[in-house]
Point group: C2
Chain length 359, copies 2
């Protein structure tokens, strides 16, 4: 076992504890939280290997299991109800806990189920993808999609404990790892120039999943997210910084029907678009923009999204944050210095999307 | 317009404001809370008259409406999803608010929908039944039933504002009014001897729905609930006092398939059962028990529940609070002095149920 790092995230009155380290799943019995000591395990088939290790570590303490369909199409209230049916069928009580083992969809769905089961039970997350380690669960946003848009139904319900075991990344497909790293770099670019520079230097090791390099980048990204979430638990202000690259990213993702691009890939292109706006409006230097594009290029190559204005426009309009003045955007003044910019016009977004370059 | 009383309920970091008075609906536009000023109205057909007055008071500020099926059988996650579909279809945003006009099922369902829409929007409640005025919404417990039991899925999400307009009771069926009063008296019996004595003296006026008598009893009951909820926002201790009469009450209600007895009627019989345990175990005097039975008799007559042990036993076992030591109960040491008693055996409950008398 390598070093285990510990981190605390506060979101309003609620607290999450994060443990990061290779092999930390073996300590699940002592690290995870359940008032009764019992857990209801929720995992997709893709996380079978990690789930097997969790089962071993929690031997005798599982009150039941649910095999989750973790495709984005299945991230619905109906799936949450199936999870709840299974948990109630196993007799889950208020002092039992939910345990989510998997990627972002798993923690979104399992966390939401935990939020509404018996009006809220404790839950724990063991992310098994790079994206979920860098982003999901921390901050307590849980939820499901609706025909009208992504994540429109949900709850703020932070997990009590998050175990980040980098060993689960060993078998992750390369495309998953690379697209997940976009979210980790995003955190560095908006708030931590030193972390960004360090991760940039060690990028080959990060891509090769060298323990120290990956753990350093993920802990750095989590530290940033924890700090931002702690200052804005209900997503009313500073937390929007975390949306860097997501305004265009969501539109690219939706335009591709959520199948053409991974979330992180769409965000990479969204960041490339935001760089255009940042140099024009926020004083980001051409040189720093180029550094970021170069990192994105090394993380990729990512499939190019459809960037035609007629395709993107309706998706930008549908954005939850759209007002008559336009859409707010997250821009960089420099690497490590993100800011929230209100009212960027639709056409300006579409032009930035058209100009976006990676590599 | 008569006097408008104002009351504040604190549940953890959250606060609800209650306005009580005949005709207060006319002031909905200035009393209700919505950050955007817009409301999504949820009301069943049974509350059509109150909804019409609300519509008039909020003229031009409704972003949409949903006609809720408020039968207990329809209190499901599927109904919450239909409410959410409608609200999202009307373009509800985070700064809009939900407004529930109706009885307890309406506030349970609408409040839960508000809890999960866009991860939580503001909501307001206008109860239109005696039971809902005395009990529902205050404290923020929202939720729906599940095949495995009542209220198994839900959220703590207190309404920002509750308007108690006693004028809406004018057209309430007598059986609804009488069964609803049981919850109001329950509050007095567990915590306020003076209120209990006063309401007992004015019982004829309360039954005849005289404004001053009804408003005094309801405000008293709400004050008690507000105090108890404020001391135990997450339902972990003192709040259980509010369950006086509910252990047997829930079993009676379930055994009757939720159609034979109104909730308040089942609770009345549950209180009668709890009186037997209270005289045996908690020192309640025979005279005070008789006073309570007499009030219940005047509130009734209530249809008698099936009290055979073979019918009730499985429902008691299914109680969320059951442990191997038995079921906790709320007993009275005297009128106005409730206490929580752990581990009352199943057989003792069944005997108390068999001995219960009203009148």
């Amino acid at each position: 076992m390598t070093t285990i790092r510990r981190m605390t995230v506060r979101a309003g009155p609620l607290k999450s504890l994060i443990w990061i380290g290779r092999g930390v799943i073996a300590e699940a019995a002592s690290r995870l939280e359940s008032p009764s000591g019992r857990f209801f395990l929720i995992a997709p088939s893709g996380a079978a290997a990690a789930a097997a290790r969790v089962r071993e570590a929690l031997s005798g303490r599982l009150l039941g299991e649910f095999a989750l369909d973790d495709r984005e199409e299945a991230k619905t209230l109906a799936t949450v109800e199936r999870v709840a049916d299974a948990a109630l069928g196993e007799g889950i009580r208020r002092d039992d806990a939910v345990l989510a083992v998997g990627g972002g969809v798993t923690s979104d769905v399992a966390g939401f189920a935990a939020a509404i089961l018996l009006r809220g039970v404790t839950w724990n997350a063991i992310p098994t993808t790079t994206a979920a380690m860098a982003d999901a669960a921390v901050g307590g946003k849980t939820g499901v999609d609706h025909a009208r848009g992504k994540n429109l139904l949900g709850a703020f319900h932070p997990p009590a404990v998050i175990l980040v075991d980098t060993a689960t990344l060993d078998t992750l497909p390369d495309r998953e790892h690379r697209s997940g790293l976009v979210e980790a770099f995003k955190a560095a670019w908006i708030a931590d120039a030193k972390l960004a520079a360090q991760a940039e230097r060690r990028l080959d090791a990060v891509l090769a999943r060298k323990e120290r390099a990956v753990a350093a980048l993920l802990s750095g990204a989590l530290r940033i997210k924890a700090r931002i979430v702690g200052s804005d638990p209900r997503d009313a202000g500073a937390r929007r910084l975390l949306n860097f690259g997501h305004t265009l990213g969501h539109a690219f993702e939706a335009a591709g029907g959520y199948t053409h691009l991974r979330h992180g890939e769409a965000v990479a292109w969204g960041i490339a678009g935001a760089l255009e706006l940042s140099t024009a409006r926020a004083g980001l230097s051409a040189q720093e923009a180029e550094r970021i594009r170069s990192v994105l290029g090394r993380l990729g190559p990512f499939p190019p999204p459809d960037r035609s204005p007629e395709v993107l426009r309706p998706f930008l309009r549908r954005d939850k944050k759209a007002t008559s003045a336009g859409l707010p955007g997250i821009l960089l003044e420099g690497i490590g210095r993100g800011r929230i910019e209100a009212g960027i016009g639709e056409d300006e977004w579409l032009e930035a999307a058209a100009r976006a370059r990676i590599g």
